[in-house]
Amino acid sequence: MSAVHVIPSTADLIAEVAHHIGVVETDLTRMLVVFPGKRPSHVLRKVLANRRGSAFLPPLVFSYDEFIDHLRKEHLGGKGRDIDMLDAASLLYEIHSVSPRLGGDHFASFDRFLPLGFRLFDELEELLLAGADAKHVAEELGSLTFGERHLLAKYYEEFYDRLKRNGLSTRSTRLVEVATRAGELDLSRYTRIILAGFYALTPTDRRLFERLAKTDHAVMIFQDGPGLKNQIGWLLDGDDSSGQMDLFEGSVSSEGKRGGPRIHFYRSTDTHGQVFALSARLKSILDEGKPLDERTVIVLPSSESLFPVLYQALSLFEEEAYNISLGYPLARTPLYGLLGSLLDLVAGAQGEAVHKNAYFRFVLHPYIKNVRMTGRTDVTRVLFHALEETLAREGATIVELRDLEGRHVLFERIAAGLSSETEPLSATALKEHLKSMHDRTIRPFLKPETLGAFAQKIRDLVFFISDESTAWRHPLFARYAGKLLEIVEVILRSEAATRVFDDATSYATFLRSYIGPQAVPFPGTPLRGLQVLGLLETRSLSFDRVFVLDASDDILPGGRSAGMLIPQKLRERLGMETHRDREKLIEYHFNGLIEGAKEVHVFFMENDSRQRSRFIEKILWKQTQENDGSPMGTVRYRIHLAQREPQPIPKTESVAGMLRDFEFSTTALDVYLKCQIRFYYRYILGLEEREEVREEIEQLDVGNLIHRILKEFFDPLIGTTLKKRDLDTAKLESLIDAVFEKTFGLSQNGAVYLLKRQTQAKLREFLEEYQMKIVETQTVELLGLEQKVSAVKDGAHLSGRIDRIERRGDGKVYILDYKIRHDDTPYRVAWKKFDPAVRKTWTESIGSLQLPMYNLLYSEISGEEVGKIVPAYVFLGRNYLDPTIETGLSKDGIVTEEMQRNLHTVILGLVKEIQDPEQQFLPASDLKKECPGCPYQVMCGTQWAKEGRW
């Protein structure tokens, strides 16, 4: 019979194993040691090497899975190809294809089934290890008609039958095979077999352990901890050879260990608070000259904190001074992000037409925009940003790849800018480059093919990025790429490789459900320096100093896994792991880690959605009972919420000089009137917001479009008196067709289609209800369209562009400005508040100086009397149009010559003020009204004034 030892939780398991190995001879290859995981083998070898002092042939040290594979292969001659979860899901889908099926018809296609298939596979594997037979499963699940879950028994039976028939194996079938055939195992070649550090065993594991327990030269070492007695009770029950049991007794390695460790708690509201507190703690240990070596561990139960720890805490050390062994989700890597953008782009594409927004999201990814061209990295970057800038000015939301590749004028401009004598660059080369980039990135993915072909395309893309961009410069790129290529290999070899998704968007789903969750290993050199490990990686190991981060209940032990196919109660009845078992397991390991240490620092997050771990609660409660208490520190950030007042900007001599020759447009004056600082940044420094590609057609685009149509429509009529027959709606419609085609291309779907319909309807209404009615009542002679006017008045250079000028039957000249809005309020003058002699009232009462400026300019250039010029807006954006959409500067329509002249005074007064070197540029007087949405808010310090927050 084997010996079973239970050592205290404070003991060092590895030392105990080494103790059972005995003298470290040159050749220990006939010793076999099994731990639950892989890491302890390194530590064990180090312990043995220290004892021996020279090289040796080490014992066989296996993780449990390696042990099973070893027994199966080497002792039982087991064969059969191992399958991956993707193979499994593919096989399960064959079973699923026949009705009635799990989840009714919700998951009928392979695309839809896949995420379900992955979970199904996991649960079937658990069922198998639980030792449940199909009949039992059917009985237990029979009542679960909900979601057709009673069918699980059918899937269970058929799946494993198929595996068997096809000679395939899974982790569970291998384990079951070994456990079932354990009687055949001849383990005599080993002088000793040590199984150490096990805790939770499935019924199948137990069968194997039972067999090993009957082997004389086997030793089982368990470490005490919460729930262990329940876990190994079966090993003790029914065994009367208590003489061989060495249970719950002191062990060699526990000698000299004291009671409990000193525990320090640190509370923070977020991840970084923990990390900065960890940094401070590490630093103080370093300052005290204490070692931070492999006997110290930083435990990260969640990989989310890995990079904050790496950059904000481990930066205290040289890279050689620590070792990270932790899986990091691929979903958080830049390569995955790139694939995500690409598949989103593809999901929305129709043929080669792609959404502009999605296109730029992809091509502006650093890995794409830094693709080299003739050895240079700036060319692609400039190319895509220039393309973005150009497209931002165009209305279309969808672009054809071919259209982008045909932008010769743009290529020429870029080529001219980037060429030098030593590095000439041609437009043709740029075109070829862009086409080649499309060919190697986007195009291959546009045609949905098999999953295998899809994987192959990912592989090609990864190599493309690696070969052609600067991505490889990131120290972790090769690791990320390697993992992705590994996954590609698995897909290529999988049963599922020949399947095709019904829906092209499913590739993005596949990326999320299959590729994203896979972990990139960070395998460091395990025996060197400060250790950074996941919680499970600390299994079976002891450390003197332990730092645990993220000890919040949602991470440690983590939330209850919802969405299980087999409900908890039934899992319990079927002998499967329940969430309670899982929590117990985590608690056991956590406890082992703490108990084995001398000094423990536990960091946790507490905020409105997170609470401290139940394990901390337990420790605190235990301490309360023992009248003991751990120090509890709290992370608090420094905070100061005062805001700075926007400061005036002095007018320097050179600015004043520049302003003397400045050409004042109506927009510039309007801006100055509202906020002088804005005027300064916009017109003096010339800083403007960059135009960005948007998904939607913006108001500005619509405005430009309407202006363009009206200009082209009336252009031939300049100098004539408008006749009814001139207002030809058919002509207007064909013009609209032409302008839309020019702006949006031939394919005018979606919002563009609706916009065109609306434009047609509204401009037809404009002709019929507004223009026609005016022409019917008076003569209208068209004098000009989009006319640029400028003049020098009192030494000031003024300018503007007038949408339309006409002389009407009343002998007056009408200066019209089209607005696509409906509301004239922002443009009006509040005459009651307005006092030309009081500067303060100008800003408060004048909506816009546009019309008075036109009036002034036109009278200057034409010599027309001010009183005979009628400036007006034409509000095309009203629900119904008629002649009343034409409104002037006052609500009642009355604007006298005196009023006009007063406004001219304002214009000239403002110009004078702007040119006055003594006057500073002042901030807006009404921050609430003027600041939200202003692009200069951060510079000015009014970034706190946001729309909707007032």
Partner: protein, 1028 residues
């Protein structure tokens, strides 16, 4: 310590609880509602008499995460006290549980252990998380794969649905036809001078997104009303009648009323919406100017026509109100299929939709199945803040509770209808009212408990509130509004030690938007409180709206008081964050001059330069931009900066510029933090700076890590608190918040700022009918002319008034010691200043506070070490194929112990064995001939010969003296010598020798006394090199 009333006077003992039972605790602010609920929960957990009371059968529901956590803490604390033998706690619990004290103590200890052991079953949850758990456990039934997400914000999915849907709109497509109809309807339902939608698609999307929450929040089916034809027909008839009347007028000699002339014009222009806006003048004539006989004749003849017009107009107003949202509801219906597909594809559902699906499901009687999937049955429900329940939540919970009551279960709710202020989020206090009236569970008539003792405020404050709501408000508001939620009838007693305590000062004055007199008043009050010993942190200013928080914060800012504006904690309102985001924008797009200028002209850059002893004249930088503008250069600003200040560019920006090419976002951000030493240079901004790192980290956790995407994300307006910095609870600063934010909180000194403004109503009205719910747009001016709408208008006003009064109640019940009410009067309304008693409530002399000791908290020191950048990798290419090839060659060679027979046969056999396990070699290369050639090389032959006493160790592991493990390709152990052969593919490399020498050292320790040889065997080169 506050002396609480004995629980026994409030809660029945467990022996007196006879399930099924429904208990409603109706209590006012500060009366210990949560305390009562906690006691009830502990009572249930400890009792031996209450059936089905084990942990997993009891569920306590709250409405916020904070409340859930607070309640858990309270339960744990109470159990700990009992388990430790706290006499007071044991005495209290012994009045609730039929056990002796020692047994209570033991059971409390056991229960504590149980809870800590089975924490996942300790169900104190928010209603949303409970429903999410139920939904997730039944995901399969709803067609969602396991592990799907529940998202709060539905907008991104709606956007996606719209985008996808838009793709299908083409000339002639069915969806285009339907949408064009909707666009026409959109025009029809809108006013004459309303905004025309050039881009109606955008408007439809915007409105549907706005309405979505309402669409999914109604528990009843949403009725679709296709009434546009009816409207058009009736409107046409109205026009015809008006014209008929006009013709009559034309033929008579009476003088038409000018308003009729206008009305007729609008009718002729068929501007239907306008006809509803304009009052129809009845009679349509100017009586004073019309000949009398003619007038009488005309009036007589036209009376019925006029009445018909009036009636038809009134009717049309009703139809119009019901039609307004029609385009959006129908758009939503059109979109539903796409939206569902996206939800399933992305394995995500939004909270609103989830609740709706669940409600529909439980209504269909699926409760037992749900419980089966959930794995446990809830027998006892305890609900906190019950007045905040929404109809859809109630529709989902009700069948579950019904099921429990049918199985000896109980329901215990606590709430205060007077504090129902979340109507805008769908909360409906009338559910609580109906529950109290026994409307829901006939099998268990409700027992109503009232908590009358107030534990929060001094007596004078209670008296003030009583006076407002009992004496003044009922006389001033519409009938019944003060009674509806219990405001006119609540009873509160001060705790014994609060008698005569507390003060309230009301200051009512005329408002002035220019001078803002309230500013001085607030600052004076704070100054006075400070002078009497209060700390800034004792004071809170409550405002009606978010914008007032900004305004008040500005005043405190100017006066130099520290403050925490709870509505504007978004880090993007900090200048430093704006500058950092500008830098990121520039790095993403170097042609973005504005972003670069924003950073270069900002505080951070200046601080860094000054710290480094570099003088920078801002004007120089500005001059650079000016120069660019002046010269009309197209070169980006950064190029000019690089040329003018190369030393600054190289030192501060160049490396960031390069790193942007390959560093992931988080790495880049930490690099920037290091480069500009942000924590050191901007110590006051620590909270904001940390939050930015958190935001970036969370952003990346969504699988997004491109800088461009983050820049876009940072510009989105988010309604959630993702960007909000954490506020230390102990910070000595005045709290400024809206009344909504203040709910559930209390402060020693409260300044309540009230403005007289007319009540504002939501124009979207949900009309409940037996068949379902209709969405209406209620415009007061029109609705007054339609009797059915008038009733709805009244309801809306009534409910709005109740909401406003409740909000006032919440505001007036936050103070513990002192309350200052500032009623700022404006002419457009009289309330709420008219509700405020002008007299002073409190002691003649305002009390002085004793010096207060600061609570000591163990603050953890923080360290922001400089980030150590890893050097760029040097490998230029992924050598995956080469690696795989090398591994395959090694694997084949590992299968060859000796050449037994011909080399070709030996190699073929090894390859066959390898292919059986590792699958066929995918590469095009013929490995067989390569290896055959290699093994045929005479210099290698001796290593593959069988020899007497020779042992071959292929791929064997050896431990070095420091424990490190080495796997050697081939170790040939002969009697007197040991040879290690290391196979290499590819080119020769110098450091390979070092590796073999290390192997030789290991082997010399294992095989002492034997000659150790080392060989490097280059497979591709067919070369063999001895290692010395």
């Amino acid at each position: 310590m506050t002396a609480f009333e004995p629980m026994s006077s409030l809660l029945p003992k467990d022996s007196e609880i006879t399930p099924p039972s429904v208990v409603v605790v109706d209590a006012s602010a500060g009366s210990g509602k949560t305390r009562t609920l906690t006691r009830r929960l502990v009572q249930f957990l400890l009792s031996k008499r209450i059936p089905h009371n084990s942990l997993e059968h009891v569920l306590a529901i709250t409405f916020t995460n904070n409340a859930a956590m607070e309640m858990k803490r309270r339960v744990l604390d109470l159990l700990k006290e009992a388990a430790q033998g706290n006499e007071e706690t044991l005495t209290e619990l012994s009045t609730l549980v039929s056990l002796e004290k020692p047994e209570i103590r033991t059971r409390a200890a056991e229960m504590l252990e149980t809870i800590l052991d089975r924490y996942g079953e300790f169900q104190v949850q928010t209603i949303d998380s409970f429903l999410a758990r139920v939904f997730k456990s039944s995901a399969l039934e709803f067609g969602f794969p396991p592990g799907f997400d529940i998202v709060i914000d539905s907008r991104p999915m709606l956007d996606e649905a719209f985008e996808e849907f838009a793709g299908g709109i083409k000339p002639g497509s069915p969806s285009a036809g339907l949408l064009l109809d909707l666009v026409e309807l959109l025009v029809l339902t809108r006013k004459v001078d309303a905004r025309f939608h050039w881009n109606p698609y955008r408007e439809l999307a915007r409105q549907v997104k706005n309405l979505y929450a309402r669409i999914v929040s109604t528990a009843q089916p949403l009725l679709e009303q296709n009434r546009s034809e009816e409207f058009e027909a009736n409107a046409a008839r109205l026009c015809a009648l008006v014209e008929q009347l006009g013709t009559m007028l034309d033929r008579s000699s009476v003088v038409p009323h000018s308003r009729f002339v206008t009305y007729r014009k609008e009718a002729q222009a068929r501007r239907f919406a306008r006809l509803l806006d304009l009052q129809f003048p009845n009679p349509p004539v100017l009586k004073s100017k019309s000949p009398k006989i003619e007038l009488a004749k005309f009036l007589n003849a036209s009376a019925s026509l006029c009445s018909e017009i009036e009636a038809l107009r009134a009717d049309l107003i009703g139809v119009h109100a019901r039609m307004h949202f029609e385009p959006y509801i129908r758009t939503h219906r059109l979109l539903r299929e796409t939206l569902d597909r996206i939800k399933r594809r992305e394995a995500a559902v939004d909270l609103g939709d989830m609740t709706l699906r669940l409600a529909t499901f439980v209504r269909e009687g699926a409760v037992p199945e749900l419980y089966l999937s959930l794995g446990e049955t809830i027998h006892h429900f305890l609900i906190d803040e019950f007045q905040d329940t929404s109809p859809i939540q109630w529709e989902t919970l009700k069948p579950l509770i019904e099921n429990s009551l049918g199985a000896q279960g109980t329901l215990f709710v606590v709430g205060d209808m007077k504090q129902s202020i979340y109507g805008f989020r769908g909360a409906d206090w009338r559910i609580m009212k109906r529950l109290m009236e026994g409307a829901y569970f006939p099998s268990a008539p409700p027992e109503i408990l009232n908590l009358e003792m107030n534990y929060r405020s001094g007596e004078n404050i209670l008296e003030y509130t009583r006076k407002v709501f009992h004496e003044i408000v009922p006389l001033q508001v519409m009938s019944g509004a003060a009674q509806a939620s219990g405001l006119a009838s609540f009873r509160q007693r001060p705790r014994p030690d609060a008698k005569g305590k507390g003060l309230v000062e009301t200051l009512v004055f005329e408002g002035d938007t220019e001078t803002r007199p309230e500013r001085e008043v607030i600052l004076r009050i704070i100054g006075d409180c400070l002078s009497r010993g209060y700390r800034l942190r004792d004071c809170a200013i409550l405002t009606p709206e978010n914008e007032d928080v900004v305004k008040v914060s500005g005043w405190l800012n100017e006066a130099g008081y520290e403050f925490i504006p709870f509505s504007t904690l978004d880090i993007r309102t900090r200048k430093i964050i704006g500058e950092l985001l500008a830098l990121l924008r520039f790095l993403d797009s170097p042609i973005d001059d504005l972003s670069l200028a924003t950073f270069l002209l900002g505080d951070l850059f200046a601080a860094r330069l000054s710290n480094d002893g570099i003088e920078l004249n801002t004007e120089d930088l500005r001059a650079l931009a000016r120069e660019k503008r002046h010269s009309g250069s197209r070169r980006p600003l950064y190029v000019l900066f690089r040329e003018h200040r190369p030393e600054l560019w190289e030192r501060y920006l160049e490396s960031l510029f390069t790193l942007t090419g390959y560093l992931p976002l988080y790495d880049l951000a930490t690099e920037i933090y290091k480069r500009f030493n942000v924590f050191e240079l901007m110590p006051g901004e620590e909270a904001a700076l940390v939050k930015l790192l958190e935001v970036i980290q969370h952003f990346e956790s969504r699988g997004q890590n491109s800088l461009a995407e983050f820049v876009e994300f940072s510009e989105e307006i988010s309604e959630d608190s993702d960007w909000n910095m954490d506020v230390p609870p102990d910070i000595n600063a005045v709290r400024v918040m809206t009344v909504h934010k203040a709910k559930g909180l209390d402060f020693r000194v409260v300044i309540v700022l009230l403005y007289d403004v007319p009540l504002r109503f939501d124009r979207v009205y949900m009309e409940e009918t037996p068949e379902g719910v209709r969405l209406l747009r209620l415009v007061k001016k029109q609705a007054e002319d339609n009797p059915s709408l008038e009733k709805l208008l009244f309801d809306r006003e009534f409910n709005g008034t109740v909401d406003q009064l409740n909000k006032l109640y919440v505001a007036l019940t936050r103070a513990k010691d002192e309350m200052y009410i500032l009623g700022v009067q404006y002419p457009q309304a009289k309330q709420p200043s008219a509700f405020l008693p002008r007299e002073y409530f409190g002691p003649r002399k305002k009390p002085k506070m004793r010096e207060q000791s600061e609570e000591s908290e163990n603050r953890v020191p923080l360290l922001h070490p400089a980030h150590l950048r890893r050097e760029p990798a040097t490998a230029e290419r992924l050598n995956l194929e080469e690696t795989q090839r090398g591994e395959r060659i090694h694997a084949i060679l590992a299968r060859i112990h000796v050449v037994d027979g011909t080399v070709a046969e030996t190699v073929r056999k090894a390859i066959e064995e390898e292919e059986k396990e590792g699958g066929p070699w995918p590469g095009p290369e013929d490995l067989e001939s390569l290896l055959a050639r290699f093994l045929s090389e005479p210099s290698f032959a001796p290593f593959f010969e069988p020899r007497e006493g020779r042992t071959i160790l292929n791929e064997r592991e050896f431990a070095a003296s420091d424990g490190r493990l080495f796997r050697m390709d081939r170790v040939i152990v002969d009697t007197n010598e040991v040879t290690v052969v290391d196979f290499k593919t590819g080119e020769e490399q110098r450091d390979y020798g070092e590796q073999v020498r290390n192997y030789m050292t290991i082997l010399s320790e294992i095989f002492p006394g034997r000659t150790i040889k080392g060989v490097l065997a280059y497979v591709d080169k067919n070369v063999c090199r001895s290692v010395e």
